[in-house]
Every structure is written in C-alpha cells, then in structure tokens.
Amino acid sequence: MKHARIAWSGAIQQAVESDGQLLITQGPHKGRRVGFDEVVWLPPLAPVPQARTVIALGLNYADHAKELAFKAPEEPLAFMKGEASLIGHKAFTKRPAEVKYMHYECELAVVVGRTARRVKKADAYDFIAGYTVANDYAIRDYLENWYRPNLRVKNRDTCTPIGPWLVDAADVPNPMALKLQTTVNGKVTQSGSTADMIFDVPTLIEYFSSFMTLNPGDLILTGTPDGIVDCQPGDVIVTEIEGIGALHNTIVAA
C-alpha cells in the first residue's frame, strides 16, 4: 500500500493511493476520494514523540563519489539532518540569488518501523516500515571542510523534499534493485540503480544500530548516484524511484 499524509478540507488527512486518486482512510472524510491536485502533500511520515532522527549518506554510490573526485569511503559517510528541513511533494525549494551550483540528489529513503539496536544485517529488513523518495538538495557554494558536508549545505530550510508516498516494505520485495531517475523540466539528467549502493540498506541498519538506537519513524537517506546538475529558479525537478514514487519539486528564487 502507498500511504500519503495530506492537508485537505482544513485538516491533515491520512490517505492511500487508489486507482490514481487519494482515498482518505481515517476521520470524518473516511472513504472520500480526492484528486492528486486537490491537496497539499506533506511528508508521508506520522508524527513521532521526540525529534525524528534523519540520517543521510554521502558518497554511497561509487560513480557519484568519482564524480565528486572522492575515493569510495571505507565506512559509511553519514551526517544528520533536522526534521524541519523536510517538505512534501509538489513543494517549493528556495535557491539563494548569489549561488552558482545547487543540485538535487535523488535518494531512496528508508523509514524505520521498529526500535533497532545491534541489529544484524540478516535481520535488518524486519526493522523497516517502508520506503519513500527524498531529494536531498545541496548548495555546493556553501561547502566548507568542517564536519563536511556542513549543515549550511545540507540542513537548509525547504531543501529536503520527501514523498509523495510511504510504500509498505512488504510491497518492495527487493529495495536493492530499483531504478532511480531524475528529470529537470522533463529531461532525464540522473539515472541509476539502488543495486549500485556501496553500503546497502541492511549494512546501513547494522552499522548505525551498532552504536545508536533507531526509533520507529526515523529516516535513512541512502545517498545518490551520479548525474547531478545545477538547478535554476523555475526548474521542475522530478526525483523518481521505481515502485516507490515520483517526487515533484519546483525551484524558486529566494
């Protein structure tokens, strides 16, 4: 099932995808169908009692590491993001006027389903609730070599669209063989496969849970393959992962 979290009729609604429409599943509008264009799409994540941990990976595809002139890392290169950086499907992302290079990053996002601590790779899939698509924008002009990638590059307001759907893990038989693609104004600029991750999803869950507790609703953004290009105000960026969804975002001038 593909789950969405939307604003419609003055309230936040839970919905699922049904025959090309959104079917509301809870509350006074339960059973009502609404069109994709009639709603505001929120990140497809249920609220959590404490700050949501948002882990992101850098250089997790060999070709992207090469593209950025780095050798592939020997252990996951991870950084943390604040939940406030997340926005939903069909939202606007701000590009500061003075920057020269702002690029998308199409990433498979893993949503943790159960409290995970010292989980073995072989058991890792049992701890996953589902998957969604994240676009982990970066503004390279702001890179500094201190705790790199620094938060000014990676934790900016509006710079992490996520969605549209949370797809149940049961509906994704092999998350390690999904095509990823990004288009800018309809033209394909990025194309890859989750099969090419350096550290695959079970390895990442084993790694992070070896020193920290992952809680239900926590996110792991698993990195992006090569094919990054600059995005300008007015550009429509669609980051898509096979079987998970196509996440639309529009760049606007800050």
Binding site: M80, N145, W146
Partner: protein, 217 residues
Amino acid sequence: MQTTRTPHQPWQPQGTVYGTLLNFRREWDLWIPRMTQDPHKAAPKEPVLYVKTANTFSPAGQDLLLQDGVSEVDIGATLGLVLGDDGQVAGAVLLNDWSVPHASYYRPPVKFRCRDGFLALPQQVTPGQVQDWATMQIAVRRNGDLVQTVDLRELMRAMPELLADVGEFMTLQPGDVLMVGTDCLADGTRPRAKAGDRVEISAPGFASVVTMVGGAA
C-alpha cells in the same frame, strides 16, 4: 511550548538539538595553524554545527553507560538555548554534550556524538533571554574536583550573532535547542570521564547536570 515542567517530570527537548563546533576563542586559536592546511584548506566562515539525535537524550537522574567499545568520553559542558513558541529564545539549560574524543573535524561526527545517552539533560529549563547569560561561568566537577570553568565571554560568536548566522539558513523551530559550544583546556583536549566517575556541571540560577558514568559489564 513547555519550557518548564513539574519537577517530577524531568525536562527533555521537544525539538531538534544542534551543537556548535569551534565557538570558543581558546580552541579556535589553537586550531589556527592547521585551519589552512589539508583537508580543511581554510578557516570556517560560517557556524559549524552538528545534530544531537533523540537517542542521545538522557533525562536528569540517568547514568551514562559507556558501551560498544567506548571507554572514555570528553565532557562537553555547554549552555543550550531553548526556543519558545514564537521561535525566539525562551530559556536555557546546562547540558553535558558528551563526545567520543576525536582529533579530526573534517567529517561529520555521527559516531562520536550521536551515541545513546550522549546528551545529559537537567531537570528543568531556566527562563530568560540571551543577554542574561552573556557573562555566565559554568563549573565542571569530576568526582568533586573542579576540572574546568567555561566562560561564555570567550565565545567566538556571541549568542545573538550565533542565532542570526544560524537563522540565515535554517529556521530554529519552537522546542529546538541550540548549544553554544564547548571549550577545551589549555592543551586543546577536553576534560574526560571514564566508568566510575561522577560529573557535575553547574552554574548559578541553573539546574545542574549530574551524571554517574558506568561501563558495560
């Protein structure tokens, strides 16, 4: 937002906790000769931040358990600015921002700073504004001995400037906490703790942060 709770219910952050690196003059000055070398190539221009994830939150009264191969930790006495409902600072807390000692500041410090229990919290928030704390001093005691005095007059970016520079690229939300930084000792290291130690962070007008450090069996 709740900046204070009943004393029976220890405070926990309602939002995301951010830390600031290299915000004390002494550590900055010690780093200057290395800042222009590889891999850094230049001094940091903007605030260098990190996230303390929710698994690090350790409410007042809980011990710190050293585990997973960690046998010693840096003590990180700091002031955390707590954001109120209007997005402005509504209060502050003393915190112990524990970290695994690490010499390199090149890559993000997830393995060093985001371990379970690595942010020791006080019982409650002290309401106020940043100017109230501009000259405050924080005492760090290990097993009763004073091992460090942190003086907020030594901040590289004073609190109003830090808030403004951070706000340029990320909006702090109600309930978020921005830690102003941790100072080092004269030799560039931080005071450390190991299993069996009792560490107390205190300042006038604030709830102390007291932690017993334990080791894995």
